[in-house]
């Protein structure tokens, strides 16, 4: 592949100085060489997940070449996808992620609209505050949140600990600040004339938002949605702390706690579970890569 590319690009360049084009060809060759090396480094774990997931337990413990599958089998997939427990994890994760995405959008789009367009008392401070909130990590808040849930549970009698749906209220603390932040950036980049025109035409604030801001800033909206989904799907610390019963676990926690029984590691199933757990974000990424990357770079550069 790489040599083919070099043959194509090399001669078609305007050749002014022989040495210069030769330099460029060599730079290209070295670039491909190192890119292949780094790609191998970056792709070893997912590829190894796939390899192991296709092996039977017997083959895994047989100490043959670990990088090759001699007797491929789908038994791990069949076993996991028919186990109620695993499907339960998948269901919990999906429900939480979908609801969190909706909640995040409902909170952050109006807020970003207000912060980007309506200058009001404290709006600049609030925008900065939102960004600062984004920098507060989950590992700082899990202990007080755990205690808060316990206290509220004690006072109201509503069971909050060990319930998966409580995570729906907790996760927005991780998604909303970032989504609001990038939506402020996208909304602020919309020309003022556009919404002034709508305002003069007699559109209300709500109509300006739904008819102009949301359609025009749709790429940003998709990027924010992807971000919110990926974060809630991958979140590990909060569910690990707040849920314990097997039927309340989400996928990452479920796989790490139930498939590892004591010192017995059923690696074929763990890798299958991990791969299936990584699949939704990977599929979204495969189809919406440009939005994903736009969201990633917007976070640090916009605003």
């Amino acid at each position: 592949m790489s040599t083919l590319a070099i043959d194509k690009t090399g001669p078609t360049r305007k050749v002014k100085l022989g040495s210069m084009s030769r330099d460029r060809t060599w730079a290209l060759r070295w670039s491909y060489f190192f890119l292949v090396l780094f790609a191998i480094f970056f792709l070893i774990p997912p590829v190894y997940m796939l390899i192991t997931s296709l092996k039977s337990s017997a083959e895994i413990s047989a100490a043959t070449n670990p990088w090759w599958v001699f007797h491929p089998t789908l038994s791990n997939y069949v076993e996991l996808l028919t186990s109620n427990q695993f499907l339960r994890f998948f269901w919990n994760s999906s429900m939480i992620s979908i609801v969190v995405v909706i909640v995040t959008m409902l909170i952050s789009i109006p807020a970003a609209f207000a912060l980007a367009r309506m200058k009001f008392w404290g709006s600049a401070t609030l925008a900065t505050g939102v960004f600062l909130t984004y920098l507060i990590p989950d590992s700082l808040l899990f202990i007080p949140l755990f205690k808060m849930l316990a206290v509220v549970q004690e006072f109201t009698g509503i069971t909050l600990l060990n319930r998966w749906y409580v995570l729906v209220f907790i996760y927005p603390t991780l998604t909303v600040p970032f989504c609001t932040w990038i939506m402020i950036g996208y909304f602020a980049s919309i020309p003022k004339e556009l919404d002034e025109a709508a305002l003069i035409d007699g559109a209300s604030w709500l109509q300006t938002l739904t008819r102009i801001f949301i359609p025009v800033a749709l790429p940003g909206l998709i990027a924010a949605t992807i971000f919110a989904f990926t974060v809630s799907w991958a979140q590990f610390l909060y569910p690990l702390v707040f849920t314990t019963s097997i039927d309340q676990l989400v996928l990452p926690v479920g796989i790490t706690t139930t498939l590892i029984k004591g010192d017995v590691f059923n690696w074929g199933q763990i890798m299958t579970g991990a791969l299936l757990g990584a699949a939704p974000p990977l599929v979204i990424y495969a189809f919406l890569m440009d939005y994903y990357i736009a969201g990633l770079t917007a976070g640090a550069t916009k605003g």
Binding site: A5, S31, Y32, L35, F38, A39, F42, P45, P46, Y48, M49, T52, W67, L106, P110, A111, A114, M118, L126, G129, L132, L135, P137, D138, S139, L141, F142, I143, P144, L145, K147, M148, F169, P172, T173, V176, P177, E193, L194, E196, A197, I200, W205, A234, F236, L237, V241, V253, T256, F265, W267, M271, A274, G277, A278, P281, M289, I293, L296, T301
Partner: protein, 312 residues
């Protein structure tokens, strides 16, 4: 679209005297509307971020049973424990080493991707960002399996080069190395993407001018690329420093802090003390020690972000 806007402008000018009153009226209403639009956000941040943050400070001043106020004795207790100082040192080593390597690898690979023809860049970029997309808890499981003491695929491969079995997670040095390696693997693609975006924003003319002046590649990087990317490098590094410093998933799954607490970070140790040994005040106390470093990094990020905002 454009002529519609123009027409609206003309209309507005024509109707301006009558419009002014209603505009002022709209302005008056605007702050109320804005308040209600931001209310859910404010409530969320106040109740589930700010309140817990201060609650954490309060918790840290209670005794283990959380029945009485003990002032700063949790803090003084920590200062006397050797494990605590080990965790401080390990967190700093972990965060600084990992961020430096992430930034270096990101910078280097971004140049390689930038070098190749535009059409192919998309494919390579897509492939190289995969580690960042996989949930870290899932990919760390794959690393755990690669490091497995008896079936390690790495040791199998290394044995062909005559390199003896390495105790990836069993030995202090190698366990720290492995934890940092996994973090670098997970985080480097983020730097790659950010730096690639920054590289693309550097005008080609600068390099052409430098080439005419006879600059070599190192001079181009030192005098053009780095100054042009300074802001994005600063923001990305500081941001990653925060995330890495507060890391939980990787260490928790890979080593659970072992061997002999030699890989514990603030987050994993706080989890072990606060949740697993149910000493919530002490756990809150441990996690609060992250605040100074996070605050310093946050102040610098904010300065850079604001500076960027003013430039644009």
């Amino acid at each position: 679209m454009a002529d519609v806007v123009v027409e609206q402008g003309r209309l507005a000018r024509a109707a301006s005297p009558r419009k002014r009153a209603s505009l002022r009226h709209a302005m008056g209403r605007k702050s109320t509307v804005a308040f209600f639009l931001t209310l859910p956000l404010i409530l969320l941040i106040a109740l589930l971020v700010l309140y817990p943050a201060f609650y954490s400070v309060y918790l840290a001043t209670l005794n283990k049973a959380m029945t009485k106020f003990v002032g700063l004795s949790n803090f003084t207790f920590l200062f006397k424990r050797e494990t605590f100082w080990m965790v401080v040192r390990q967190s700093c080593i972990f965060a600084i080493t990992a961020v430096v390597f992430k930034a270096l690898i990101g910078f280097i690979v971004a140049h390689f991707v930038h070098n190749i023809p535009g059409k192919k860049q998309r494919k390579w970029r897509g492939m190289l960002l995969v580690p960042w997309v996989i949930p870290p808890a899932m990919s760390t499981l794959a690393w755990l399996w690669l490091f497995d003491p008896s079936y390690s695929a790495f040791n199998y491969t290394l044995s062909f080069f005559g390199i003896g079995p390495i105790p990836w997670l069993g030995d202090t040095f190698w366990a720290r190395f492995s934890v940092i390696l996994v973090n670098v693997w997970y985080g480097a693609p983020f730097f790659l993407i950010m730096y690639l975006a920054a590289l693309k924003s550097v005008p080609d003319q600068l390099y052409e001018a430098a080439a005419i002046d006879g600059a070599n590649w190192w001079q181009k990087i030192w005098h053009i690329t780095l100054p042009m990317m300074r802001n994005i490098i600063a923001i990305t590094t500081l941001f990653s420093l925060i995330v890495t410093f507060a890391n939980f998933d990787i260490v928790r799954i890979l080593t659970s802090g072992g061997p002999l607490d030699r890989t514990h970070l603030f987050a994993t140790w706080a989890f072990q003390v606060g949740i697993q040994s149910s000493d919530i005040p002490l756990g809150a106390c441990v996690s609060l020690f992250m605040v100074p470093i996070l605050a310093v990094a946050a102040v610098f990020i904010l300065r850079d972000v604001n500076k960027r905002g003013n430039e644009a």
